[in-house]
């Protein structure tokens, strides 16, 4: 069998010219080199496709619509308190579709009994409801038997936490992965649009703890948080609890990029 890879110049009188028939030597060479190149390309794609990191366990049940009955709390970000089947108070953040928060929608209903319709997102505990389109997706609940008391319980003293600032909607399952450097631009846009920012803290056991962020006065955090999104940060503030949701109140001067 002739050597398919003869030294160069193989046969110097053979010149490949695109509009003339391919010389025999070139033809032989191409028959080996083209499949080899395709194999290298396929191999690289296979290796590369193994680099996806675990995007976490967030889930968006976007094919099944649910109705939640409970008490609405508008601050720092809209959320609804409901009671689960064991009588425990469960908090669910409320957002609009797309990258928009529900603050406007909820402003007049603070501490009212409401019924809210939409689809659920959840990630190991923390939950969110994406409201269905239209004004009627959230409305006062006249039956009034559903009032759930979820007043704030403040801890005393300051805590310091290290983690990543995420937009809660993508992080809880709207996008997989919904955090990290490649998600920074999207998260910034979400937070600009009123999606509640949160701190995701990586625990030693592999789990992730979720802290909703608030301003020191209990209102929404403010625009100063936007440049810090997706970076590693250290936040110091006061921790409080509403139902099963942890909320960290922070001031800009107590937030540092690591």
């Amino acid at each position: 069998m002739p050597d398919p890879f003869p030294p160069d110049p193989p046969n110097p009188d053979e010149l490949y010219v695109g509009y003339l028939p391919v010389p025999a030597g070139h033809r032989r060479f191409l028959r080996h080199i083209v499949p080899a190149a395709l194999a290298i390309i396929a191999g690289t794609a296979i290796i590369w496709s193994h680099t996806h990191a675990d995007p976490g366990s967030g889930r968006w049940h976007n094919s099944s619509k649910v109705k939640l009955r409970g008490t609405l709390y508008a601050h720092p970000y809209p959320m609804i308190a409901t009671t689960d089947h064991r009588g425990k108070t469960q908090m669910t953040l409320l957002v609009e579709s797309g990258k928009r928060g529900a603050a406007e929608h909820a402003a007049l209903l603070d501490r009212h009994a409401v019924v809210a319709a939409g689809t659920l997102l959840e990630r190991d505990g923390p939950r969110m409801l994406e409201l269905s389109e239209g004004a009627s997706s959230i409305s006062p609940d006249s039956s009034n038997s559903t009032a759930v008391d979820a007043e704030l319980r403040a801890s005393d003293g300051q805590v310091t936490l290290r983690g990543e600032i995420v937009d809660s909607k993508c992080f809880l399952g709207a996008m997989k992965p919904g955090n990290g450097k490649t998600h920074k631009a999207c998260a910034t846009l979400c937070i600009r649009g009123g999606i509640p920012p949160a701190l995701a803290v990586q625990e030693d056991n592999g789990g992730v703890t979720f802290y909703l962020l608030a301003a020191p006065d209990g209102g929404p955090v403010g625009e100063w948080i936007e440049p810090m999104v997706a970076d590693s940060v250290e936040l110091t503030g006061r921790l409080e609890q509403r139902g099963d949701l942890s909320i960290l109140r922070i001031a800009p001067e107590n937030a540092h990029r690591l």
Partner: protein, 355 residues
């Protein structure tokens, strides 16, 4: 370009080439998407949109690597030249896949929000001082613009209208695009990585591209030095060697003191000299052959008559010619380029000069 030109053969090669290139892209996308879906499943599955964004981005940069290694490979071994022939189609394909990547990113990461997606793309982060939060999308956007300019001007129409030098300069920007894309991936996707696999892959790519360019570049320099000719007559004539040192129907290339390369061809029993630089895209004519009596460029087959540097009719391209003479059994070439298309009497090899 040749007297033997027929449209059917011409397009058949290109069709085969494009078919292979398209299958390479299809293999990449299929492998990437299928394995990506299998890698994490159930509640841990990666979003389809993100898989597509990654598949198109990675496919485009893989094709760019192929484009970048073909040049030096063809320099190192002429048998890679068929891959060079239609490389511009590969370039256009790379641009289109990269464009799809950018459209998907803009729609998915920058859509659905309170800002215009393009505005969001340009303003999402302005933290240029920090490597950690540098807006890696911007180098990607710049690279995409370069790929667009190259794809849009890839047709010979533009080559003619932009002048070969401008066109060549424009197309050298591919290296700028490559650098920008290394930044795009290094400051973007790689910052999410904790495992060494992805950085190693990128390192291997950069290493392959730069090693091949270095090897091919050193080869050229050695060739230039190896042919360093004896200079006589006030630098205006240089020695090329005995007539039969030049292979029949091929050339020896010498480098004049000004740095320009001259290709000296032997055809039948005559010697003629032309510039080494093809009027098309600057291909090395001295590495071509004489086919049908014409000097034929190894890159895309443009042809010139050895006697006057003109393309045979109906073509009108012209290249510079040089005077040649044979003195005492040695070929000498003048270092003064004559205006493109100047007819020069070829030097006849005397009968007794046979080695």
């Amino acid at each position: 370009m040749s007297v033997g030109y027929t449209a059917i053969q011409w397009s058949r090669h290109k069709r085969v080439y494009d078919g292979i290139a398209a299958s390479a892209a299809a293999i990449w996308m299929a492998a990437f998407l299928l394995l990506g879906k299998a890698r994490w499943t159930g509640s841990h599955a990666v979003s389809d949109e993100i898989l597509l964004i990654r598949a198109t981005g990675s496919c485009a940069i893989a094709l760019l690597h192929v484009i970048l290694v073909i040049g030096p490979l063809a320099r190192l071994n002429r048998r890679f030249l068929p891959l060079l022939y239609n490389r511009r189609h590969l370039g256009v394909m790379t641009f289109l896949i990269a464009l799809l990547h950018a459209i998907l990113v803009t729609g998915y990461y920058h859509g659905f929000g309170v800002l215009n997606p393009l505005l969001s793309l340009l303003s999402s982060s302005t933290n240029f001082a920090s490597l950690r939060s540098f807006p890696f999308e911007l180098p990607g956007l710049l690279a995409l613009i370069i790929l667009f300019l190259m794809a849009a001007t890839s047709h010979d129409f533009w080559l003619r209208n932009l002048s070969a030098t401008t066109w060549k300069r424009l197309h050298m920007l591919v290296y700028a695009a490559y650098g920008l894309l290394i930044a795009h991936v290094g400051l973007g996707a790689l910052q999410n990585e904790t495992a060494p696999l992805a950085p190693s892959l990128m390192f291997a790519g950069v290493l392959t591209v730069s090693t091949l360019h270095l090897l091919a570049g050193t080869g050229e320099v050695v060739k230039d030095r190896g042919s360093a000719p004896i200079v006589n007559d006030n630098d205006s004539w240089i020695d090329v060697g005995a007539p039969h040192d030049i292979p029949l129907n091929r050339a020896r290339t010498v480098c004049a003191s000004g740095g320009e390369r001259i290709a000296i061809f032997r055809h039948e029993n005559t010697i003629s000299a032309v510039t080494n630089v093809c009027a098309h895209q600057g291909g090395p004519l001295g590495e071509g052959n004489i086919i049908d009596g014409c000097i034929t460029c190894p890159w895309h087959g443009w042809q010139y008559r050895a006697s006057d540097g003109c393309s045979p009719p109906p073509f009108t391209e012209k290249i510079a010619t040089y005077q040649v003479r044979i003195i005492a059994g040695r070929v000498q070439v003048s270092t003064k380029a004559l205006p493109p298309g100047t007819a020069v009497e070829p030097a006849r090899i005397p009968e007794h000069a046979d080695a």
